[in-house]
Every structure is written in structure tokens, then in C-alpha cells.
Amino acid sequence: MKHLLFIILSLHLFTLSLFGVDATLKIEKDVEHRSRIALLDGSSVKNPRVFNILLSDLKISGHFIPDTTHHQGDITGKFIPPALKGQEYVLKYSMNQQSGSKLLIRLLKASDGTQVFKKSYAVPSKAKMPFLLHKAIADVNNVLKYPDISWINRYVVYAVYTTPGRSEIRLADYTMTYKKTIIKGGLNLFPKWADAKQRAIYYTSYKELIPTLYKLNIYNGSKQKIASSQGMLVCSDVSKNGSKILLTMAPEGQADIYEMNVASRSKKRVTKFKGIDVNGRYIDNESRIVFISNRLGYPNVFKKSINSAATSQVVYRGRNNNACDAHGNKIVYSSRESNNAFGKNTFNLYLATSGSSSTRPLTATGTNQFPRFSANGSVILYLKQKGHSTSIGYINLTSSQSLLFPFDDKKVQSIDW
């Protein structure tokens, strides 16, 4: 009897460990809210890449418990292989990339083969295949009435150093399967999405004497000069409707945070500290900001109202909290946690809220940097280095699931999502 009890408890622990890849997180949503689903590949040529992307989408959604076996079979009809009868759903799919990318999906009830949903997708580009898969899983998620996961459809924009003094700005899907360089040559840094629909970015160009901020439409190439400043100039955040931006700039040689009205170009200085104030992010319906400041002698997270001078400390742990992101009242920050001046260092991510001094660890090993919230704030993107490998990681704060994808761009400068 004791043995039986031990086996059952071990099974429970094993199940939990499957979902705790990188995070020391509390399981907030019980697994019984998730649907068991199997993927059945009906393509004429078996494609592990397509299967793996679909599997990742299902996992990171937090709404499914996917079968990790790559099953093959006929996409037509109601037939459900006996091995899949234990699932709740079977997602049959067929990908054809002979000319562009064409995807057909059919969502069936595993019990009797009843069709729940059917849809086809097509895009002229073979390279954009991952976006078809993400869209398909987002649709399946919506059909089953789960909370929205449309963040999986979004582009990631990031800058990488290529050689000293040069960089490129690239687009990718969240798995980094699709990648495209949109700006090469020169030194162009700090890309930031300018609008919710991801049609334009802000970025800092160094092609002139002093740093200059541009807004670039990534579809038609039209470009507007927004501001320039000696010292440094970064678009750190964009308001929800795109009308205001937070800039870190140094017109007098002192890095401070400014809020700019994009239409009128009028600027308001938000911080006035003699040290370093950078990395402003809107919180609390854009009435306040959180930012990184060294006003205590080391980089840490602070907050202040846009319209008043009072500044308060947000984080009370760590001696080197040098980057943060925010969504609503949630704040994620990276903290350097080793004393080595050089070489391997531990950076971990922590979650905090603007109204509380408590923090929650999100990572436990390696170098974890560049945290960025998804558009709905439910998932955090970050860059992880462990040993010689670099990955892009995702932590679903609701389901506590984590995923890592290989990332071969070595010197990332900045990321936005």
C-alpha cells in the first residue's frame, strides 16, 4: 500500500516537473483547465519543424496539454486512431510548401471524430510559414473559448551587433524560426514598436553627429526624424495609443527621462537627477513610470508620477537591478547576482508590482536579461545564456509554463515584442 502511494505521488511530482523548466513559480492555474490534444500530421511530407512549432504554440499558450508524439495520418474524414482516443481533441493538419505556404487544419473531438473547426491559411512566402502555424493555434484557442493568445502572432524586433560599430535590426516570429534583417549597415539600435499593430518602429541611428531617433514604417519604408540629442537617445516606451513616448535623452549631457507628444513633438522632462535615470516604462494607466536609476549608488528600480517630483523605490533586494519592463502594475526586472567583475555572471529575473515591495523569482540559473512583457502582459520574453548556448525564453505567468528556443544571434543589443 505504501508502495502504491509512493508511485502515485511520484507521478504527480513528475507531471509538475514537466512544466517547471526554468522558473520557480507557483502553479496558479490547475491542469484540469487545460485540454488534452494530439497533433496528427496529414502532410504529404513529414515535417518535424512544423510539428515542433505547433507543439510549442500549444504548450506556451498554457491552455493545452499536448501529446508530444508526431503522429501521421489522413487529414480527411472522422477517423481517430485508437491511440488518440484518450485525448479530448485531435488537431489534424496538412502543410504544403511547394509554392508559398498553405496550411489546412481540422480540429476534431477525439471521442467520436466530430469536426469542431476547420480552416485554411495561405501566404505567398515560404519563410513566413511559422506565422501561419501561430495563427492557426491562436484560432483553435479562440474556438475553444480560452483567453486570447494573439501575442504568439506578433513580431519580435531586435538589434544585434555584427562587428564593432555596426549592428542590424531584425524581425522574427516568437520562436525565432522566421528571421529577417530590415536594417543593415551603420549603427542602428534600440528598436521599439511604435504602434499596437506593429506597422512601424522607433530606432536610434548613429549615422549623424549625434544620436537621432527615427520612426520607420516597416512595410513601405517611409521614415520620419523624431528627435536628436547629444549623449544618448532611446525610445524606451510607447503609450497604448501611440500618441506619447518615453525617451531617455541627454540634451545637456545628463541622461534623464522625457515624455514626448509625438504629434506636436513637445517634450516634458520627467526625471531630474544628476546621476543615471534610464529605461522609463509606463505603469498604472500611464500616469506613472518605473525606471532604472543609480540614485542609491547602484542601479535599481524606482517609480514616480509623470506630473510630480516624488520618487519612490520599487525593489528592495539586489545591488544591481539594471533593466526592467512593465505592464499595467506588473514589473519584471533583471538583477545581477554575482560579484565577478568579469566572466560568467548570474543575472536573474524577478516579478514585482508597483503597489507592493514583494518580489517573485522567475529564473534560477544562467544569465537572464532583456525581459519584455507580451502585449497582454501574460507572458515574459527574455534572453538566456547558459554555458556557450543562447536561447530566447518565454515564461507564461498564468500557467507557469516555460519554453526555450535556440537563438544564434550572439550579441543582442535590445529586444521588443
Partner: protein
């Protein structure tokens, strides 16, 4: 009895963890193409024509100036940089051109903070030059953060060389 109760609880919890939500009763007749939003092609821009980054001169001072080096995480000019600063003020006062002061960092910072640190270094050098008679308006500062290392080996001596301020004439 206690054992039976424990086993019963565990079995029930395992059973419940296998239950999913009921499938919505939808008819699957919406076979439509819905990829317009992702089919638009994005631009590719080549800015190689803008040449001030292509001559490799970011990586050291020029025009008679000497680079000023800093300790890890610091932006105060140390006493062992005195000779370099004495040289720089002599050159700066002798030229008529505008002077560009470039702050640089090693690779151990992240994101915006490292650029601000580079700027603080540039400002320390500028303030020192201004305190010795240089007109403030004759200078322009730019921080390059960790973007322009002169050395890419993973060694302490290499990182030391990257935490620097370069000075050159604006041409």
C-alpha cells in the same frame, strides 16, 4: 484506514487532473483563407552608404588626443589618467574645430544603462576639459555603450581597454 483515505484522495485528484473542458458544439464549415494580415512584405534597408561608422575610427582617439580609461562600473577619472588628460587639454585648446567626446563601456552592462554609463564617462572627460579652459560649446558628446569595443577577447585586459573615452575632431 488512513492509507485508504490517502490513496482515494490521490486517485481522485489524478482522475480530475485528466478532465478537460467540454468541447463547444460548433459546426466546422468556415473554410476560409485568413492570412492577409501576415502576407504583407516588410522592407529591407541598407544604410552602409552612411560612412562615419565604416572607417573603424571609433575604436581609439585620433587627431593627437589620447583615450581615457575607467575602472569597472565607474565614471570617475583616475589619477593614472592624468598624463592623458594633460595631453588632451593641450590639444583641445590648440585646435579650432569642434571636439567629439565618445563614451564606451565593456560588454557587462545591459540595454540602456550601459549607454548612460558611457555618457557619464564622456561627461567626466568633458567637465575636466572645461574646468581647464575649454569652451563647453566646442564639444559634443556621444555614448556608444558597448557597441564599439577595440578588443573582443574574453580577458580582463581586453575589457579594461573597452571602458574608455575616445576623443577626436568633428570633421
Amino acid at each position: 484506514m488512513t492509507h485508504k483515505l490517502l490513496i482515494l484522495t490521490a486517485v481522485i485528484s489524478l482522475f480530475l487532473s485528466g478532465c478537460g473542458q467540454t468541447a463547444p458544439d460548433l459546426n466546422g464549415s468556415n473554410n476560409i483563407s485568413d492570412a492577409n494580415a501576415i502576407s504583407g512584405d516588410t522592407v529591407s534597408i541598407d544604410e552602409s552608404a552612411y560612412g562615419n561608422e565604416s572607417d573603424g575610427n571609433y575604436n581609439s582617439s585620433t587627431d593627437g588626443f589620447r583615450s581615457v580609461y575607467f575602472d569597472f562600473g565607474d565614471y570617475a577619472i583616475s589619477s593614472n589618467m592624468e598624463n592623458n588628460m594633460n595631453n588632451n587639454i593641450k590639444v583641445a585648446l590648440a585646435v579650432s574645430s569642434k571636439i567629439k567626446i565618445e563614451g564606451n563601456c565593456d560588454e557587462f552592462g545591459t540595454d540602456e544603462y550601459n549607454y548612460a554609463l558611457g555618457l557619464k564617462r564622456a561627461k567626466a572627460v568633458k567637465d575636466s576639459l572645461v574646468s581647464q579652459g575649454l569652451t563647453s560649446g566646442k564639444t559634443v558628446m556621444v555614448s556608444f555603450g558597448e557597441s564599439s569595443p577595440v578588443c573582443t577577447e574574453p580577458s580582463d585586459s581586453c575589457y579594461d581597454r573597452n571602458r574608455r573615452v575616445d576623443i577626436r575632431l568633428v570633421k
